[in-house]
């Protein structure tokens, strides 16, 4: 068993990080916001954490928190201009923001440009990743019956009616965006320190699509579903390795199957059985 785990430790790390990313997006999705900026938040935090670790010798804990807070701060500023956007327009605006972030990462000083940033200390292991994930999971679990959770769900269902019962939906949207950015930031820092090398391409639209697909497959209204979706989709390419260059087709096909026949995702299927 241990041999299996250590042989696949890279994959297991990837699962953990992708699960954290999917959960971070699920927060906004659960509030009904199609805010597709997680990859950008991940990238911002990855670079901040990598730079502080390499240039100033900070340890992972400090660097990661710095990165995550940086991402959260950017999210707080982003929330203001996108505050009135909904649906597809919000999606496009956040995608655009993601591209701007990626281009800044290519051009800004200290980032190492398009060739990437390397020599990040590898002070992260599987336990760290799953420790963070567990912490987040416990937090979300404890919060599930609170008024905050109710406010988020109501905002998603009908924003106007939610305001009509006294819910400050603007604050819900801001809160889920910032919290999601913080989590994505943690994931970014974990990614940077687990891989000792990052490039701006790691945090572009391709990554964003991956995260979104994981959430949809797992179930858009469920953070647990998002995590499971991420795990499933991370492992999938390994399982279908025999398809070689045709591998990608399976994740696309699964996404199509889910959206056409099981729109509530894996979590929804599970709920329907119960």
């Amino acid at each position: 068993m241990l041999a299996f785990l250590s042989a696949h430790s890279k994959l297991i790390d990837e699962i953990g990080i992708n699960a954290l990313l999917a959960v971070s997006l699920s927060l906004s999705l659960r509030a009904g916001q199609l805010a597709l900026a997680q990859a950008a938040f991940m990238g911002i935090a990855a670079y901040v954490s990598a730079i502080t670790a390499v240039r100033y010798g900070w340890n992972f804990f400090e660097a990661a928190l710095c990165g995550a807070f940086a991402a959260a701060l950017v999210a707080a500023f982003l929330a203001w201009p996108i505050g009135r956007l909904r649906g597809v327009f919000l999606a496009i605006a956040t995608i655009g923001f993601g591209e701007i972030a990626r281009i800044v990462e290519i051009n800004a000083p200290l980032t190492g440009g398009a060739e990437g940033f390397s020599n990040i200390p590898n002070d992260v292991n599987t336990f760290t990743i799953y420790g963070v994930l567990a912490f987040v999971a416990v937090g979300l679990f404890l919060a599930r019956n609170t008024k905050v959770a109710l406010a988020v769900a109501a905002t998603r269902e009908d924003e106007s009616a939610a305001r009509g019962v006294g819910i400050d939906t603007a604050r819900v949207r801001l809160g889920t965006l910032v919290a999601g950015a913080f989590l994505a930031g943690l994931a970014g820092a974990l990614y940077a320190h687990a891989n000792y090398f990052i490039t701006p391409a790691d945090f572009g639209f391709g990554r964003m699509e991956q995260i979104l697909v994981a959430c949809v497959v797992g179930g858009v209204t469920s953070s647990l579903g998002a995590a499971l979706g991420a795990a499933f989709l991370t492992v999938l390419p390994e399982v279908v390795r025999f398809l070689h260059d045709y591998r990608e087709v399976t994740s696309g096909a699964i996404l199509l199957l889910v959206i056409l026949f099981a729109p509530d995702g894996l979590a929804g299927l599970w709920r329907r059985r119960a």
């Binding site: 008024k147 406010a151 769900a153 269902e157 939610a162 009509g164 019962v165 006294g166």
Partner: protein, 234 residues
């Protein structure tokens, strides 16, 4: 007890004047009917009170505090609750969660007993608390909306055509729900087309036509008012 005071309200949507110089009062503990032909501006008035629409002129106050400058959620927190012409429940949430959401402005959360009491006050009996709201039959959805509105212990309750789509028995039950709300101290503004219901529960009635107030009085006075008859038949 709280009183809603609407003074000289004017609402313009782009080039269209939906309401012009409309004033009315809803004292706490009373039921005021708001009637008029379609397009008379009734829902616009409710939208203005709840903050969905900003009036171009005039004022709206509850207990002397101005509502018309506040964002919608603040108005709700001040104790204003409403139901909608087209039912707007939180469909994917449970019956219980819908009611809990209604109580959002209050401290703490209602326990199972309070939830049951609220549902009964809205004439909803034997409804599974965990049922998804969207799966309820129409009549029960309407009443769940009322239960949600009552859950916040509102000082002002705005009902937008609550009887639409209800059968005669349900409409009779609705009368008691409305009177009960008023008895508990809320001021109730009832927008309705069902004149029998209006006559049965309202203390006073305000009539709108083309965005203006054309009559006001007891249900009996309104029924005899020639201007009102003209508005509906002309």
């Amino acid at each position: 007890m709280s009183e809603l005071v609407v003074e000289a309200l004017r609402i313009d949507y782009g080039g269209v004047r939906a309401l012009d110089n409309v004033s009315l009062r809803v004292p706490g503990g009373s039921v005021v009917g708001l009637i008029g032909p379609n397009g008379a501006g009734k829902t616009s008035l409710i939208n203005a009170v709840t903050g969905i629409v900003r009036p171009s002129a005039g004022s709206i106050s509850l207990d002397g505090a101005r509502l018309d400058r506040l964002p919608a959620h603040r108005i709700a927190r001040a104790g204003v609750a409403r139901t909608y012409q087209n039912v707007r429940l939180f469909g994917a949430l449970s019956v219980a969660d819908n009611v809990r959401a209604g109580a959002f402005r209050l401290a703490g959360k209602p326990d199972a007993r309070s939830l049951d009491a609220l549902l009964r006050r809205a004439a909803l009996h034997d409804v599974g608390l965990d049922r998804r709201a969207a799966t309820l039959p129409y009549g029960e959805q309407r009443r769940l909306e009322i239960a949600r509105a009552l859950a916040g212990e509102p000082a002002l309750l705005l009902l937008d055509e609550p009887a639409a789509g209800l059968n005669p028995r349900e409409t009779i039950e609705l009368r008691e729900v409305i009177r009960g709300a008023a008895r508990d101290g809320a001021g109730v503004l009832l927008v309705e087309h069902d004149m029998t219901l209006v006559a049965a529960v309202c203390d006073r009635v305000v009539v709108l036509n083309f965005g203006e107030r054309i009559a006001e009085g007891t249900p009996a006075q309104i029924a005899r008012d020639p201007a009102v008859v003209e508005a509906y038949l002309g």
